[in-house]
């Protein structure tokens, strides 16, 4: 079973009487009993990580917020089907990943042409047209940071099977074990995909890295 970071009291609501932090599973039990405040606490814990994960996956802030909200709606209505033998963080990231992959497929159906050149992957399932998101990002600094923009765009062109583990491991900082459980893969396969994803990113960012080093 993956380590649920929130079980250890990294952040979030605490039991005022005991001073101990309420675990995700305790909150889930309260939500099942109709405690709306417990659901609010779950949202407070996960809304930023999930939004960030989806933003890195889609490279579109508004789409990421929309899917993050949908993720919590799905969690709310499927709360009775959640099995507590899995970490809740794994569960919610899996829902978000599935929604993101579905969104990618929708985009692919809407696509009218393929990107070629710098961000063209050798993987057949990455040939999709992603129109540039010209809307301002919430963080002005992020918009102005060319480095972040280029990296984000490079991530967004990775095939999903490499993109998800790369984001979870290198952007979100989750352990290999967490990533493996979330993706329902073996540890070796997960490490291999992360390494392969980094390799693809390196190819895409070669020119940029040379400029930076130069």
């Amino acid at each position: 079973m993956a380590l649920d970071k929130n079980e250890l009291g990294a952040s979030g609501e605490t039991n005022r009487a005991s001073g101990r932090r309420v675990s995700d599973h305790q909150l889930i039990a309260r939500i099942r009993n109709g405690d709306e405040a417990a659901f609010g606490e779950i949202m407070a814990r996960y809304k930023n990580p999930i939004t960030n994960f989806l933003y890195r996956f889609l490279n579109d802030y508004e789409e990421a917020v929309d899917l993050a909200q949908e993720t919590f709606v799905r969690v709310y209505f499927a709360i009775d089907r959640y099995h507590t033998n899995f970490a809740f963080s794994t569960y919610i990231y899996r829902i978000a990943s599935n929604l993101a992959i579905t969104e990618l497929r929708k985009r692919k159906r809407r696509s009218v042409l393929s990107l070629t050149g710098l961000f063209q992957s050798d993987e057949s399932d990455t040939t999709e047209f992603q129109p540039p998101d010209l809307r301002p990002l919430p963080d002005r600094d992020l918009v102005e940071d060319e480095k972040s923009r280029v990296i984000a765009k490079a991530i967004a062109t990775l095939p999903p099977k490499y993109r998800i583990p790369i984001i979870l491991r290198d952007v979100e900082g989750r352990s290999y074990e967490d990533v493996a459980e979330l993706m329902q893969l073996g540890l070796g396969t997960t490490k291999s995909r992360i390494s392969r994803g980094r390799g693809l990113l390196r190819e895409k960012l070669t020119g940029y890295m040379q400029d930076q080093n130069g």
Binding site: N48, F77, P138, G173, R198, R202
Partner: protein, 246 residues
């Protein structure tokens, strides 16, 4: 630092993006909306494709079969009870379904088929309006045991029948009615203009249930016939029509 480590470091240096302030309100609004939607049943695309379409095809097929069978019933003159084209009449304290209008078969045909129950079950074609050899006797003899002489269109009165049954079509033909009969009655396909039946007011499409008060049954009619009265059903109403002599 190798390339892979550098990539990892670059990714880790990306700033986190936070959810907007109105995030939780948006989630709760969606939940409320979904709850309201769930109270209204709407067929999904899956349901329509999976169930509604096959059901529609099934109903169409059933409708086709019903129409086909209806045609077959008309042909056999065993009308379904109480449908759009038939009425229920009480004859001899029994409910009988009778057609409301003319039979579609051979009403306007210049050549009609008259089938008989005797004479080897042969069928002859006769021109409407003319005399008919209805084949009561296989050897085409001139004796008609039931008291009718179809060739002269005369009714032989006063003599008891010699036994057996006669096809009601034959009797009705004598007074100018070309009919098709079943076990419960006959439908007048065509009433010859100027005939006795036409003078009595019998019309095309009338359902004739009895002759001289004797109900038409399977196997024909029996007994003595003067053909002085026809019991018919028209638009669900029973009428006893006296047959006058010219």
């Amino acid at each position: 630092m190798n390339d892979e480590e550098e990539i990892s470091r670059m990714l880790a240096s990306l700033r986190s993006v936070d959810a907007p302030r109105e995030f939780e309100g948006g989630v709760r609004s969606r939940i409320t909306a979904r709850r309201e939607e769930s109270t209204l049943w709407r067929p999904s695309r899956f349901l329509v494709l999976k169930f509604a379409l096959p059901l529609l095809l099934l109903l169409a097929g059933a409708g086709f079969l019903i129409v086909s069978n209806d045609g077959a019933l008309n042909a056999d003159l065993v009308p379904p009870v109480g449908d759009a084209t038939h009425s229920i009449a009480i004859i001899d304290d029994k409910e009988v379904s009778v057609p409301d209008g003319p039979s579609p078969t051979n009403v306007n045909s210049p050549i009609a088929q008259v089938s008989t129950h005797r004479g080897g079950g042969n069928a002859r074609t006769v021109p409407q309006g003319g005399s008919a050899d209805i084949g009561l006797s296989p050897d085409n003899s001139t004796s008609f045991p039931d008291g009718v002489d179809p060739r002269n269109s005369k009714i032989t009165n006063g003599k008891p029948p010699t036994g057996g049954a006669i096809a009601p079509e034959s009797v009705l033909l004598m007074i100018g009615i070309l009919s098709t009969c079943s076990s419960t009655g006959c439908v007048a396909n065509s009433v010859r203009v100027g005939s006795i039946a036409a003078g009595a007011g019998i019309q095309d499409g009338d359902w004739i249930s009895a002759i001289d008060g004797r109900p038409i049954k399977a196997g024909g009619v029996t007994g003595q016939f003067s053909v002085s009265e026809i019991t018919l059903v028209r638009s669900g109403r029973i009428m006893k029509v006296p047959i006058g002599r010219p």
